[in-house]
Amino acid sequence: MEFFDFYRQDRWPHQFCPGCGLGTIMNCLYKAFNDLNIDLNKTVFVSGIGCTGRVPGYINADSLHTTHGRAIAFATGIKLARPDLNVIVISGDGDLFAIGGNHTIHAARRNIDIKVIAVNNANYGLTGGQLAPTTPYNMITTTSPYGHREYPFALAELVAAAGANYVARWTTAHPNQLVKSIKEAMQTKGFSFIEVVSQCPVNFGRRNKMGDPVIHLRWIKEHSMPLTKMTFDVSSPYDIVDINTKGIYIVGDLVKRNRAVYGEIEHEVTVKGPKE
């Protein structure tokens, strides 16, 4: 499969800003699909609104660009109606965790067999750089001009707690690992979730002294640490919630497990009524 068998050449070049991490993620997606030789005729890409929501429109497969936040709910409908299809959701952090947070955690709870790639650029890029539920503490965005006074969501950990079968976090500074992770997700049955921390130099970086994509990428690299190097300690200074001051993005495969997948659970009565 050539690159432009995977992407629609008549829509290239894409609309993303110079240095945007989405291009990197698109390359990784192509490489993973090429390596696994996945049939694009049996693949549906679903996305919500946002910069990331535009990605499936460039992929030469069935694509559904939906309303804001509902990508996972649409994907649920597709997967249940056609269980033989690969259903992949590519959407942003604001779409999947602000307006669509409920759908994401419920899909993870059901453990329905869809793959989710959540691109976390720490702000709402398409609408002009407003704060997102993933904006680190004290960062400046257009709607937090004096610094953000809330703590961000730890997306991967949240989905892991909700019950997904495969959860990983990588960044655009780790493209090779990301390719491996996408392959792993595609081969895992059940709800698979990959959070990709990505740079947004134009709308997020520019307001936080990282307007150069190179500097933003360097910042992401410096603020990420592999899970294998982590020591789990209550007093650990590494905490996702205050990434800006002392925290880091923990990268790696966070969860791999084998919970029963939705639709494949055997109907057994496990709860008995009260004794007479």
Binding site: S63, H65, A75
Partner: protein, 357 residues
């Protein structure tokens, strides 16, 4: 599935059975009074019919899931009531923009807001037509008996497949819980996607068959690629979406007309219209115009009977269908307009009409 014959069914159950008979094999919903029995019945029956039933986390995802399922070529439906219907509005607009054939059953209850959860009203008449933003059209059906609820639910699936448009069945709390005789016909006419060629309706190409379909709620060209800042593309697309319903109104509209020559015409629909029948029997000079298809407004049938008539609109809301009736009535030469608005949960009685005659 129901075999042909006579049954004694509650409205909600009849709707669910009609949907199954029409080939609906995907139901996603969220429980809400007074539509819950429909969902409960579906939960039981979908497993028996090898369909898919899922209880989603809210109404937003319920309608999203059925749009997703509809795009794989399944006949999909959801049922809800007032507040849930409001939540669904955004995706009804999405379904209209992407031309997705879905069926939504709205069991109307007293509003606004949480209102009267168990009590009948007809407050969603305008919402079912104008609820989402932008220019779009929906097809809205309004039955007045359990038998008609059964028949119109089947027709809703046919219309959705024919016109590639969301179709809304406006049931209400009274009909949903009323138990009446239902006659299941020997043969039911079912229309599949692309079976009938209709002007301005493009053929439906589902996902998952190798056609590499691009679907988007953005303004798109014929390929499905988003083109958002081209005046011509947007104008052509939205005009076609509206016209495919408006211009095909004679094909869609279905009305019951009694005594079209009478001086006074009662315009009523749904459960409220049942008060009109005794009045017509008692008074020779009174006729009935009862649209089974509320939207698009059955203009082609309305215009022939209204010239020089008094029109009384009877409905269970304060501002609803009467606005459109009055607008078109004036256009086609009706002379006098009266409205009877009954809210609070009381079903109109013949005496309500006789007071204003």
């Amino acid at each position: 599935m129901l075999t042909p014959g006579r049954y004694f069914l509650a409205g909600n159950v009849a709707t669910a059975e009609a949907a199954l008979l029409a080939g609906c094999r995907f139901y996603a919903g969220y429980p809400i009074t007074p539509s819950s029995e429909l969902m409960e019945h579906m939960a039981k029956r979908m497993v028996e019919e090898n369909g898919v039933f899922i209880q989603m986390e809210d109404e937003l995802s319920a309608i999203s899931a059925i749009i997703g399922a509809a795009w794989t070529g399944k006949k999909a439906m959801t049922a809800t009531s007032g507040p849930g219907f409001s939540l669904m509005q955004e995706n009804i607009g999405y379904a209209a923009m992407t031309e997705t054939p879905i069926v939504i059953v709205d069991v109307m209850r007293g509003g606004p807001s949480t209102g009267q959860p168990t009590i009948v009203a007809q407050g969603d008449v305008l919402q079912s037509r104008f609820g989402s933003h932008g220019d779009y059209e929906t097809i809205v059906l309004s039955p007045n008996s359990v038998q008609e609820l059964f028949d119109l639910t089947i027709r809703a699936f046919n219309l959705a497949a024919m016109f590639r448009n969301p179709v809304i069945v406006l049931s209400d709390a009274e009909l949903a819980h009323m138990v009446e005789k239902v006659e299941v016909p020997k043969s039911v006419e079912l229309i599949d996607f692309n079976q009938i060629e209709i002007d301005m309706v493009p053929s439906f190409v589902p996902l998952g068959y190798g056609f590499r379909v691009a679907v988007t709620g953005l303004t798109h060209n014929f390929k499905g690629y988003p083109i958002t800042n081209d005046v011509k593309v947007h104008r052509e697309l939205v005009t076609r979406l509206v016209n495919k319903i408006i211009k095909n109104e004679p094909l869609i509209s279905d009305v019951e007309i009694i005594n079209p020559d009478a001086d006074t015409i009662i315009v009523s629909y749904g459960i409220a219209s049942r008060a009109a029948y005794p009045v017509i029997r008692r008074h020779k000079n009174v006729g009935l115009f009862r649209p089974r298809t509320l939207w698009p407004f059955p203009e082609s049938k309305f215009k022939d009977i209204v010239r020089g008539k008094r029109i009384i609109t009877l409905e269970m809301n304060l501002r609803g269908y009467a606005m459109e009736v009055e607008r078109l009535g004036r256009k086609y030469g009706a002379v006098d307009f009266k409205t009877i608005n009954i809210i609070g949960g009381e079903v109109p009685k013949p005496s309500h009409i006789e007071e204003v005659l």
